[in-house]
């Protein structure tokens, strides 16, 4: 009665890629800058994708509206941080964090609340039907984006980084933006929390079972709907958090930002394989690294690096790096 052995190969992809490109880049400091920035970027991508990993991976709901929650989180952050100018303007990192933390919390709460409504009115009737999910969540996405425009206006709004978080740490010639390190910390926390919930509790099992045969799970006495709502809300909240991180990174927000990241997130999930948090993390890290390396070595290909990466992974494992048996 043992669980299966852990599959290390995909995990090794990340260092393998980094080492593989080293000779092409030549300069050590450039390599360090690119690699560290790429990994940290991967972490940010992981954060924005993590909510969808939950919802798509566990509940098999392909939520095209996920991007809206990202945008929502970012817009809420502009309001919260805007109201806390004293804190963001301070040079002290700790006081800055005092502003960023509430922004994150509020963004997550708002996204969660909207997620609740989204689940009830949009997703609930279409569980188990991918096509309808795609259609209806796209409708939801359009509505959400327009509502953001109604509330915050259609314009790009600046979301300035708090003073203390700007700038970089320098190690010789290599530069690492401070903000990216914060992203790594947040990303690792999200990852650990997700992993714990999914592997140490029955929740993950129940949801996977519920997706395959909802009636049977109910017949066993579980209120699957409550669970589904919970997961969806959690996924939305994570998207909200991702929105804050993404918005702060770009330092400006536009209502379309959600739609802009959707494809990226999907690619990460495909690479990672359905339902695997670890897979999503690896997918995100690979995407982050790959973007920087191709951007440096063959900038013309940078636009297509994600797709090439995805194709390569799918040729190796058609179900993504960590596929559940299907």
């Amino acid at each position: 009665m043992k669980t299966m052995d852990f599959d290390w190969k995909p995990l090794a992809l990340v260092p393998a890629l980094a080492l593989l490109v080293f000779p092409f880049i030549g300069s050590g400091s450039t390599w360090v800058t690119l690699t560290v920035a790429g990994l940290a970027m991967g972490m940010i991508i992981f954060i924005i994708a993590s909510g969808l990993t939950l919802v798509f991976g566990l509940m098999d709901v392909l939520n095209f509206g996920h991007g809206v929650f990202i945008a929502l989180g970012a817009f809420v952050a502009t309001s919260v941080l805007g109201a806390m100018g004293d804190y963001t303007g301070s040079e002290s990192l700790w006081i800055n964090l005092l502003a960023v933390l509430p922004a994150m919390v509020v963004a997550m709460l708002v996204a969660a609340a909207v997620g609740l409504a989204f689940e009830r009115f949009i997703v609930k009737p279409v569980y188990g039907n991918h096509l309808k999910q795609i259609l209806i969540t796209m409708g939801g996405m359009i509505i959400g984006e327009e509502l953001i425009k109604v509330i915050w206006g259609p314009l790009q709004i600046p979301l300035p980084m708090p003073m203390g978080l700007g700038g970089s740490f320098f190690f010789g010639d290599a530069a690492v933006e401070k903000y990216r390190l914060l992203a790594v910390v947040v990303g690792v926390a999200v990852f650990a929390l997700l992993l714990w919930t999914l592997t140490r509790t029955k929740i993950g099992l129940l949801i996977r079972a519920g997706v395959q045969d909802r009636e049977m799970v109910e017949s066993l006495g579980y209120r699957i709907h409550v669970l589904f709502v919970g997961v969806f809300v959690a996924g939305s909240a994570l998207a909200g958090l991702g929105g804050v991180m993404w918005g702060l990174y770009q330092q400006n927000v536009v209502p379309q930002m959600g739609a802009q990241v959707n494809v990226l997130i999907f690619i990460v999930l495909i690479i990672g394989g359905l339902g695997s948090t670890t897979g999503a993390l690896i997918g995100a890290l690979l995407v982050g690294l790959m973007a920087n390396y191709t951007g440096f070595l063959v900038p013309k290909m940078a636009l297509f690096s994600n797709i090439l990466l995805m194709m390569a992974v799918l040729l190796w494992r058609p179900q993504g790096v960590y596929a559940l048996s299907k």
């Binding site: 796209m138 995805m310 058609p318």
Partner: protein
Amino acid sequence: MLNRLISNDYPRSRVLAVLLVALLMALAFSPFIFPGVKALNVAAKVLIFTVLVASFDLLLGYTGIVSFAHTMFFGIGAYGVAVAFTRLGPDWGALLIGLAGALALSFVLALAIGLFSLRVRAIFFSMITLAFAAAFQTLASQLSEITGGEDGLTFKVPALLAPSTSFADEPFFGVSLDGRLACYYLLFVLTVVLVLALLRIVNSPFGRVLQAIRENEFRAEAIGYRVVVYRTASAILSALFATVAGAMLALWLRYNGPDTSLSFEIMLDVLLIVVIGGMGTLYGAAIGSGLFIVAQSYLQELLRLASEAASGLPWLAALLSPDRWLLWLGLLFVLSVYYFPTGIVGKLRALQPAARPRVAAAKAPAMK
């Protein structure tokens, strides 16, 4: 005769039949019933979308493949014609060369897609096509030497179809007989022919196998159908029809650019029309296109009126602002998936008491 023309596939609902005839008549006489440039543009767009959506329905509704790369073929058709006219000048030879080139490219890509669709899970496949469509659009705007990049291509069409050509000095029933009108009727005839051809295909033995594959691919293989072959053929056919629709678009607009024929918004429109009209029924494509395009074209005007009426309530006025027309389109999207899971055609057919005359009608002679 009619029977053969529509491949024995009757609307199976009196209301639907009336709607279809009304739509056909409206499109046939549109220039005379609804004068004005805008109305003619709307009518032409209905024609083009009817072909595009019907071709997509072959893939989605009949074969059960969810692909987001359909606009890619639409774009290839449009670019084929646009590039040919730009390079070779506005004559019919250019049109043929452009269309042939586009069809060839679509064929190859669709073949690849069809084969690929078998390798990965369906849901993966649709996400991958999404990424591909996005990449293709980027590619089109990157190759500005050929495609005109973001700015697209503006070009001239053969004299017969150009707006400046006039066939009669006097207007006919208030409509000037110019190249624009000729172009409209070219599109009209093409649309009728293409839709009837598609109708024949979905009602052929081949079309029936596609439905079986949609329902249960595994079993279709087990009773002796090579799923790869049928799926790929369906993907290719659907792509070729979409390519022609794209060529029609370019011919009508005398312009093409990445957003015009490749944008994801068009894909969304197509999806929505398929759903509103009713998946797996080609008539739905026609009815859906008619309704949707007209609604889309006049929604902003409608909202302007509504928002003025609601000016007492600022928040409502903000929601009803014509600038927020997409909001209402999105709502329409959600509601139609909610309340019209089988689309307009499905709803209308369900209203008709004689629910299954198709089999009965087809079988009656066979029983003797």
